[in-house]
Point group: none
Chain length 401, copies 2
Amino acid sequence: MDNIELLRPLVVPNASKIVLLVLDGLGGLAREPGGQTELEAAKTPNLDELAARSETGLHWPIGPGVTPGSGAAHLALFGYDPITYQIGRGVIEALGEDMDLMPGDVAARCNFATMDTEGRIADRRAGRLPTEINERLLKTLSTIRREGVEFVLKPGRGYRFVLVLRGAGLSDQVSSNDPQTNGLPPHPIRALSPEAGPTADAVSFFVAEANRLLAAQQPANTVLVRGFGKLPRFPTMSEAFGLHPAAIASYPMYRGLAKLIGMQVLPTGGTVAEEIETLRSSFASHDFFYIHIKDTDGAGEDGDFDRKVRAIEAVDAVVPEILALQPDVLVVTGDHSTPAVLKAHSWHPVPLLLHSRHGRVYGPGAFSERACYGGSLHIFRAVELMPMMLANAQRLEKFGA
Amino acid sequence: MDNIELLRPLVVPNASKIVLLVLDGLGGLAREPGGQTELEAAKTPNLDELAARSETGLHWPIGPGVTPGSGAAHLALFGYDPITYQIGRGVIEALGEDMDLMPGDVAARCNFATMDTEGRIADRRAGRLPTEINERLLKTLSTIRREGVEFVLKPGRGYRFVLVLRGAGLSDQVSSNDPQTNGLPPHPIRALSPEAGPTADAVSFFVAEANRLLAAQQPANTVLVRGFGKLPRFPTMSEAFGLHPAAIASYPMYRGLAKLIGMQVLPTGGTVAEEIETLRSSFASHDFFYIHIKDTDGAGEDGDFDRKVRAIEAVDAVVPEILALQPDVLVVTGDHSTPAVLKAHSWHPVPLLLHSRHGRVYGPGAFSERACYGGSLHIFRAVELMPMMLANAQRLEKFGA
């Protein structure tokens, strides 16, 4: 049975406050065998002290060995089984570019690419096009018009952009033209279900028009489109868990994802101090607060071990300010691991502490991967965090008689 | 795949003996941060010694964060997935009052309540009616007659009683008249599926007649009915696991539940010593023994930490007598946690030891929450205990080729 089906009938709202502090990409790896991870190397006196009076453990964002995208990993932390509640990559990309998707829209992630004179894709990323050229070329493509469908475009970084199709009766059951490797011609766009015919035609039309308009350009003389998806209709956190939640995040993708499940996205500055100030000023108005810290992940993706250490230490410094608000439940964790040595998201379980009045505390006295492996929560799936947070906030009734 | 579907084809009966000793509500919490739980505070030399040569761990009765009712928690210990095998609350209540339910019966849990002159429920519990008055009023209600259906009544404690409808073609798809909060009129009783019409009519008739008969009574001048359920047809433990099981329990609910899954309920006195004597005298006749100890839960529910400690110590004293019978597998655990500090069932994982010749033993030398968190079984779902018991009794064949 789905988490939400199981928990929804048990929910009893009360006045408790839950704070979920997510250090994006928190989990790490040592630079050499026997060395310390980023979190172990960081000086975190406040988190260490808190861990000593909290339950600790680690979570698999999706399941053993599975490296998650940020969207899926966050959904799991919010109690949505990421295997049941999937979101098309185009939608994640659109949310990440702060586009306001409407029900029925179909979003796709796109690349500018280079096609050779024989019609083969010579470079799927158009020589890692600078963003300025991307923006200029998209102005040209924005002149493409077709009866019954609107093409909404938004540049991303470098060679990437988002295409949103808006109109009646659109479908996301459309195949990509991306051959996935250089040296092959683009695939034809196909309808993957009967009702997707008109959408496939519209996308084919868009690609043909783009090829015509970009013909004289080098290196970006074609476009690849993929990851078609529609804005899904998920139960809100209020419907699923009886919460009145708020999101404190400055990056568009996280704000968009939070909105998708009914969180109120609070206006906030993007520094850690500004986010904590937003928490403080809105603490009376909500009962569940998701705070997102992006710097840890950015440093990990850049392979910058020391910068990730400093990003963790910056969060440690504000922990007393969060505790001063006396939340009933405080969880500190990451959405996934981003070890600097891998310069990428990874599958490694993510350290976590859960602080409440009702924990069984045999604290290791440190917040680190090593200490969390010995913690009382052991290793669990991220989707199991929400029932534990709700239980510790005494927001769940008994199951069964 | 369901536990039972998975295991049933693997079962190979043999002469081994399994004893499952359930201390109801065993799991606990410390009274102050860093303090000891009830089990940690109890002097349990025999359990500690046994833990040192057993596998230990903890179980989630249902899943992370979920607080179970006793029925659901016990079913899980017996190998029945409590989410698949659900029992209506009325049925649990009827079993708890030692009523003999027959296939087709529909049981409901009921309250005497107070209705004001405007037809609103002024007190859903009729001023927490004394049991003696409850018994007297039920004699009056037992005169209610209707063609084709029998109303069987049994008083519970205080304001509570059980109504069983007996007859042909009854359904449990009937809505409650309980408005859930004081100050609202009772809901009309409705059929929730087409075939439930006659049952809804019979319940409405019973409520109307009760109102007429109780009109002059104060404070109990009406009745609220809810939790309609039918005796489910579950596979017996013999069908599912090839066992010939016996239950040693003195409380009606546990005896009724055991009967529901085909255990033979042995006549027994209710003290720990009497229950162990029953185990000894019947040890040759069965291969699976469920022994239920109620005092631990009662003390926890009363918030009496010290009495729960003494109840645990009383069980520790008889452990040598159980071991003297040389069961092949002995499990000591609880069905759920009932920390005295919460005065209620809770979600916390429940300590467990599993003793057999075939364990991997790295014993902590103590039976306590703290020690079990470091045990080799880690934290698992209660429904996973049955396959472990059967395996240790060498009652399961290989799965797959």
